[in-house]
């Protein structure tokens, strides 16, 4: 059940809508329904806040209104040989600038230089009192005032409605290719990942993909075309096993499918879990205990995050999963899930609750955005 739907065309109109609402939730393109579907809330459809307001390739900065589709941003950057190094998710599905920041999720490419948090320089948002607030600065380095841009990363629309964001961008590697080793045992794959990740070769992406025959390891290397073959060979030598090399379209489409969740069944809930090579085993144990060892999943970005496709027919078990994750000190964000699947988009173990409560009190005293 949604309340009124607003379609503000400016920050001032967002502020007005917020001031007039009891409970209000922003929606970007709607790619992550579990994140914005809140019972009884007014909906702020941000699709009219659309457009790149400033792009300065020589500054490595781009500024866009929050409802701008990331696909548009990426296309503009690509024309200048630049990209968003955090590798946003669901770009083709229609993900927006504000939605990406609020979800705080990154693709496999975040391995190379960092995540969205590391590339968000400035934000404008409307807080729960209907005030328009700016934080950060539109330059690549800044230490003035509290880091409000970082606070908005992962805030899920609960601390403010973003209206404009400035990102740092980087030059895109001249060319990329991917090495693949199929069917590894998990231990073996993690060990190999550690070897390749130790620095001799700089890696764009490193994912372990769960499949019927074990784990496929996929390692993407990018840089100057001239040096690429030698570097691929060096990585292959480190792996010391049979590898296949994907280049050109095969390489591009592999990673595109990954971040568009094309590997997950369309009706599955997609969860993101922060991970480390040391906690991957704990997640495997949780899944095994719930008789879910066969669910599609990827350990992504050098095993720093897992994407798990939780099957639609087991959606009722998300509450059981929630409890099991808490016990194992693991956390999950339901990036894509049916609106009513979980009472909260965040499952499992949480930290920082007391600080968050105080920040919510400061930015949204009346609880207009709901609480996380």
């Amino acid at each position: 059940m949604t309340g009124v739907v607003h379609r503000p065309a400016s920050a001032a109109e967002v502020a007005e809508a917020v001031r007039g609402a009891q409970l209000v939730v922003p929606r970007g393109g709607g790619t992550k329904p579990s994140l914005w579907s809140v019972d009884g809330a007014d909906l702020l459809d941000l699709s009219a806040l659309d457009g790149i307001t400033e792009y300065l390739p020589s500054e490595y900065t781009v500024t866009a209104l929050a409802g701008t589709p990331l696909a548009d941003v990426e296309a503009r950057l690509a024309a200048e040989g630049q990209y968003l190094p955090f590798d946003p998710l669901l770009v083709e599905a229609g993900s927006t600038v504000g939605g990406a920041v609020a979800a705080g999720a990154n693709g496999p490419g975040r391995l190379r230089y960092g995540g969205l948090r590391d590339f968000l320089l400035a934000v404008t948002f409307v807080d729960g009192r209907g005030e328009i607030v700016r934080g950060g600065a539109k330059v690549v380095k800044n230490a003035a005032g509290f880091d409000l841009p970082k606070l908005m990363v992962g805030s899920l629309g609960r601390l403010g409605v973003l209206t404009e964001c400035t990102f740092k961008v980087f030059p895109h590697p001249e060319s990329c290719a991917t090495l693949r080793i199929p069917g590894m045992a998990l231990d073996e794959a993690i060990e190999a990942a550690g070897r390749v990740g130790a620095g001799a070769v700089e890696i764009e992406c490193l994912d372990l993909v769960h499949g019927l025959a074990g784990w496929d390891q996929e390692i993407r290397i990018g840089g100057r075309s001239f040096a690429l073959d030698a570097r691929l060979k060096r990585a292959a030598d480190l792996l010391d096993t049979d590898v296949t090399t994907l280049s050109g379209d095969a390489d591009a489409s592999l990673w595109r499918t990954r971040r568009e969740f094309g590997w997950a069944s369309p009706d599955a809930s997609v969860l993101k879990l922060p991970l480390t090579p040391a906690t991957a085993g704990a997640l495997e144990q949780v899944l095994a205990d719930l008789d879910a060892s066969q669910v599609a999943r990827v350990f992504s970005a050098g095993i720093q995050q897992a994407f798990v496709a939780w099957p639609a027919e087991r959606v009722a078990d998300l509450t059981v999963l929630d409890r099991a994750l808490t016990q194992s000190k693991l956390t999950a964000l339901a990036l894509r899930a049916p609106a009513d699947a979980a009472s909260q988009p965040i499952l499992g173990y949480r930290t920082g609750g007391e600080l968050l409560r105080r920040v919510e009190q400061a930015l949204d005293p009346a609880g207009r955005f709901g609480r996380l």
Partner: protein, 485 residues
């Protein structure tokens, strides 16, 4: 606070820590009265030397109960007055909390106490081929706790970012003594990025007692290029050309003639004395990649027509080049009895414009300014030279420093890239941000710390400022422990 309450409060601190670790009185506390911005001094009520996180919690709770302001102090190298004591407050000296609790080569993380010195982290990680990337010039003395409070940077932060980009998890004592955990040990998180909010909060949100840092594999090789130009503008244009070429160097630094001269006199780095602008560009990474990139870099830099270029021939040569750069601050200090290290950011395409204007401003005020800066990210460090013994010079230098900050704001930049707002730049925060922006920050501060006990009086413009009291070198500088690099 009545005299009896004050005595009772000190008693309680002493009962908790023992008399040796509670310093009171002018002489024992003298070294804590200012930080590296020596123009400010303040006398605390007491300095406590804590040995454990538990003691930090207990001291904070005692302060909260007695409504006494406090601040954590690392090595006191803040250049913005950030670790200046709060008058009549408690200084919690963190230096003894200096254990590296864990280095995990698989996760590539280090868990440290906040008093650990920046360079010690890289030293501990070195056996695993890892290092801690942010490299402030003060890295052999400054602490991770201080780095965290200011989101400190260094010459090599262009590619992999500042402190904030390398902190994964925290244990924090909130200003009322409540202990919380933030983040974790993964690069990824879920929910609002509270670690990101805490880093750079200048000690206003409480005290970090345990910090999980990300380590990076050491670059396999470096390619370090020195290029000399007959104008600063030409050096600036070379930076723009490198950026436009699609290369991503690990560092891009520029020094002006005054800085070159001083550095040369101090360490003999082999810099050309007649250069008006000297550019240092460094590529880092794996061999094949750096080899391929270095060809492009040379091509791009040659097009900018330096009158002299020099490629570091071996690691020693490279160290010599960097030694000159890193000693530039203290070297410039030799040219003048006093100086202010300023820190501002401009969009890098406007570097040339900013430098020209700074030169004019200096001439107008009759004050010499030397420039050393992180050109790659537009982070200026004008060094304002003055003589504090000459009546009015300190005030004129401060005025010039302020005008430089306004210039940064006008050009669309920031009043600080890495040294923080602290005490020094409070009045400019309100010029960079609007009322609603500051109000939101203030509300967050008050929700976290209603009594404004943690580092009271810093960062926000409305707080009362102490008078400019004195000048001269930092006590640690006198003791030869630090120098202003």
């Amino acid at each position: 606070m009545t005299t009896t309450d004050a005595a009772e409060f000190l008693d309680a601190l002493t009962r908790r820590l023992g008399p040796d670790r509670v310093l009171t009185g002018a002489a024992p506390m003298a070294a804590y009265e200012s930080d590296a911005l020596t123009a400010f001094r303040a006398r605390p009520r007491a300095v406590v030397l804590v040995d454990s996180a538990k003691e930090v919690v207990d001291v904070v709770r005692l302060c909260a109960a007695a409504n006494v302001p406090f601040l954590a102090r690392g090595s006191g190298t803040s250049l913005s007055g950030g670790s200046l004591p709060v008058h009549d407050g408690v200084v919690i000296a963190m230096n003894r909390l200096n254990r590296i609790l864990e280095v995990d080569p698989v996760r590539r993380t280090a868990v440290v106490e906040p008093g650990v010195v920046n360079l010690a982290v890289s030293d501990a990680a070195a056996p695993y081929g890892l290092y801690y990337s942010p490299d402030p010039s003060s890295q052999s003395v400054c602490t991770i706790g201080g780095n965290l409070a200011f989101n400190s940077g260094g010459a090599h932060c262009l590619k992999y970012g500042m402190t904030s980009n390398h902190v994964l998890g925290l244990e924090v004592v909130l200003p009322d003594g409540e202990v919380i955990e933030l983040g974790g040990d993964s690069l990824e998180g879920v929910g609002p990025d509270l670690v990101g909010l805490f880093v750079g909060s200048e000690g206003l949100f409480g005290i970090a007692t345990k910090i999980t840092l990300r380590l990076l594999p050491k670059p396999e090789t470096y390619f370090t290029l020195l290029a000399a130009y007959d104008s600063l503008a030409a050096a600036g244009e070379a930076v723009a050309a490198v950026v436009a070429s699609g290369l991503l160097p690990g560092a891009m630094e520029i020094m002006d003639n005054l800085a070159i001269e001083a550095a040369e006199a101090a360490v003999g780095a082999g810099y050309p004395l007649d250069a008006e602008g000297l550019l240092i560009v460094e590529l880092e990474g794996e061999k094949q990649q750096v080899a391929a990139e270095s060809e492009l870099l040379l091509e791009v830099v040659r097009r900018s027509k330096p009158y002299l270029e020099h490629i570091a021939s071996d690691p020693d040569d490279r160290m010599r080049i960097w030694k000159g750069r890193k000693s530039a601050f203290s070297a410039v200090g030799r040219l003048s009895p006093d100086y202010i290290v300023q820190d501002g950011v401009v969009p890098r395409s406007r570097l040339g414009e900013a430098l020209t204007k700074i030169q004019h401003l200096g001439e107008e005020h009759g004050i010499r300014v030397a420039n050393v800066f992180h050109a790659g990210d537009g982070n200026l460090h004008p060094l304002i030279l003055f003589d504090g013994r000459v009546e009015g010079e300190l005030e004129r230098a401060e005025e010039l420093a302020g005008e430089i900050l306004r210039l940064c704001i006008d050009l669309g930049g920031s009043i600080t890239g890495e040294h923080g707002v602290g005490m020094e730049k409070r009045q400019y925060l309100g010029e960079m941000f609007g009322d609603a922006d500051l109000d939101a920050m203030r509300r967050i501060r008050l929700a976290i710390d209603p009594g404004e006990l943690a580092n009271r009086g810093k960062m926000f413009p409305d707080a009362e400022a102490p008078a400019l009291l004195s000048h001269g070198p930092h006590p640690l500088e006198v003791a030869g422990v630090i120098s202003r690099e």
